[in-house]
Amino acid sequence: MTLPVELRHDETFVLNLGPQHPATHGVLRVKLTMDGEYIVKAEPVLGYVHRMHEKLAEAGNFAQFMPNTARMDYLHALAFNQGYALVVEKAAGIEVPERAEYIRVITVELNRIASHLLWWAAFLLDLGGFTPLLYAFDDREQILDLLERITGSRLTYCYMRFGGVYNDIDDEFITGTRDFIKRLRSRMPSLYHDLVTHNIILIKRIKDIGFITAEQCRKYGATGPVARGSGIDYDVRKNEPFSIYPELDFDIPVYNECDSMARYMVRMDEIEQSLRIIEQALDKLPDGPVQAKVPKLLKPEEGYYYSAVETARGSLGHRLICDGGKTPYRLKLRSPTFSNLSLFGEVAEGMLLADALAFMGSLDLVIPEIDR
């Protein structure tokens, strides 16, 4: 780059945000056409961590793809585990023991809290607040310790099996989880809300910024907290109940403000709802096996299958097409942030650079999940 500022006749210049930039949390690149500090046009450029997982799925048998699922959304890996397990169980007609379902829900919700905590930390980092990052990591660490006990890994889990889970939970996990719930509940009001949520600078930074209408959400297929921040009451756990969610009592937080603050509040409330879910699931936890009898090599019958789960970022869909063989003939992943990010270009137009980055943070992007 020899020219510091490339001015065209219409006085705009191109700013290349990424693929290595502190605010893109990974290797996303956004080509920004700027007029001063205002964004004239924003084009996300994807694919820097594309690994062709869908082709890999076609290369092995059904069980062999399970570890790959966690490599996509490394923040909510258990939901990806669960989504893949669900679609294969649907195709192969496998019944899951009840205890396994409860364990799945408990671990997935714990993982969801961990994911939201990390989002919160990274979002505050985008806004220039470094301290909340360490507070959130402190809590997240507790979750990772708990999950490590039963799943064996801390980030890229491969915990679910077709027809159950890999490992039963023990009493230590249950008491640890209960302690964690108590701990997070006591820390939420002071550390999270008093320090950050009610902070005037934060409110001024994200209130009325990044306005997404419900119609825009629908046109772009946005789901998860992005849609719920725009007044859309859509959560796969309620709208299309799976697993044991219908038996549990929890609310879906919905905010009508459509701005970054609304998305922020949705996620903060979701942490509390997840705590509720875990608590109830622990109370109701039945005895029994955690793994159904399943043949080693699955051969689901020919057909089209679709199943969705709710990850921390929105609706994750698996479109599975089988030809009766022992490998998935076609496995397409509908990753939530892929759709959520496609909004960015339209909404970021005319925004200030700083606001656009705050808005991008509020979308909660996990790049490997977009690029797959």
């Binding site: 220039g128 607040g129 301290t131 930074r205």
Partner: protein, 330 residues
């Protein structure tokens, strides 16, 4: 006139040592303070409680190669970090550390500090420009508009202090506040200045945060937006000098605040005034700056400018008017 050569030399060495130690150890203080605020220990490996960490950092920075990327304006790129250091060190000359520790009690010392501060802005501007990087240019543009915007309320507040003290000499201003905290400008209760100068103090403190590019006003190096702002292309000691210049600016700002508002070297209860009180005050102020930095998120450049033009400048103007009126009446 006593013309001993030793006095200037001693002050030269003293100021350089004070500046150097502050520049190095404020980095340590910042990291330790941030660590405590974030419930972690901070640096602790090198030396006792990490006290040798600045030395290690310094050695590391100095032994690294000074990279001059292709396409930059070489001379200006190399000179800019030096310019960043000059005004901060030079300002120390006129700061009254105590009644008898001051290199030079210039009649216009307040003015000198502000004149030099504007020189520091030049360093940011030139460094950003010479880097030939778009982020650096945006950052420079931000830094200049921010500094211009905050210099005005800062100077206006200082004018009201100068009117009260009747002098631009920092030493005279400090002497004017001797004899207990009720004489300090922030709590001033004489000549009709009924306890409103704390408004000026707050304005001044906010402005000094903005002028020294500290969070929540660190627009020029907003790392989540502009990578590292004007320092993006700098490494090794070029970066080190910018960092040290920034810390020294904080020290100068704290010294100025302590002298203008907090009675300089005066003891709050009128006992044993001396340099220790001055140092205590400036380090409390510096700690506050660090505390703010690690507590608040960053604001946004347009809100920052609005804060100055729409709130601080009107308030400081009214402050000047009220002060003038009260001086006239009483």
């Amino acid at each position: 006139m006593e013309t001993s050569i030793w006095r200037p030399i001693l002050y030269l060495v003293g100021i350089m040592a004070f500046a150097g130690l502050n520049a190095a150890y404020l980095g340590w203080c910042e990291r330790k303070g941030a660590g405590r605020i974030q419930r972690r220990p901070g640096p602790k490996e090198v030396g006792f409680a990490g006290l040798l960490q600045p030395l290690a950092d310094g050695i590391k920075l100095m032994t690294k190669q000074l990279m001059v990327p292709q396409g930059v304006d070489g001379i200006i790129f190399r000179v800019a970090p030096v310019i960043a250091m000059i005004p901060a060190i030079t300002s120390m000359v006129v700061i009254p550390f105590s009644g008898n520790i001051q290199a030079r009690a210039m009649e216009l010392s307040v003015l000198l500090i502000f004149a030099l501060a504007s020189l520091g802005m030049m360093a940011v501007l030139l460094g950003g420009w010479a880097s030939g990087n778009k982020y650096a240019i945006i950052s420079s543009a931000r830094a200049v508009s921010q500094n211009l915007a905050y210099e005005i309320p800062m100077l206006l507040t200082v004018i009201s202090i100068v009117m009260i003290s009747g002098s631009m000499n920092l030493r005279d201003i400090a002497i004017d506040q001797q004899g207990g905290f009720w004489h300090w400008n922030i709590f001033r209760f004489e000549n009709g200045h009924f306890l409103y100068m704390w408004i000026g103090f707050i304005i001044f403190f906010i402005c000094s945060l903005a002028e020294t590019n500290r969070a929540p006003f660190d627009m020029a190096e907003a790392e989540s937006e502009l990578v590292a702002g004007y320092m993006t292309e700098y490494g090794s000691m070029g970066f080190g000098l910018f960092m040290m210049g920034e810390y020294l600016n904080i020290v100068v700002g704290a010294c100025l605040t302590a002298t203008l508002f907090l009675g300089g070297w005066d003891c709050p209860f009128g006992l044993t005034p001396g340099v220790w009180w001055f140092l205590l005050k400036i380090y409390v102020l510096i700690f506050t700056v660090i505390w703010v930095r690690w507590t608040y998120p960053r604001t946004q450049i347009y809100r920052l400018l609005n804060l100055s033009w729409k709130i601080l400048i009107p308030f400081s103007l009214v402050n000047v008017l009220v002060t003038a009126a009260l001086i006239k009446v009483f």
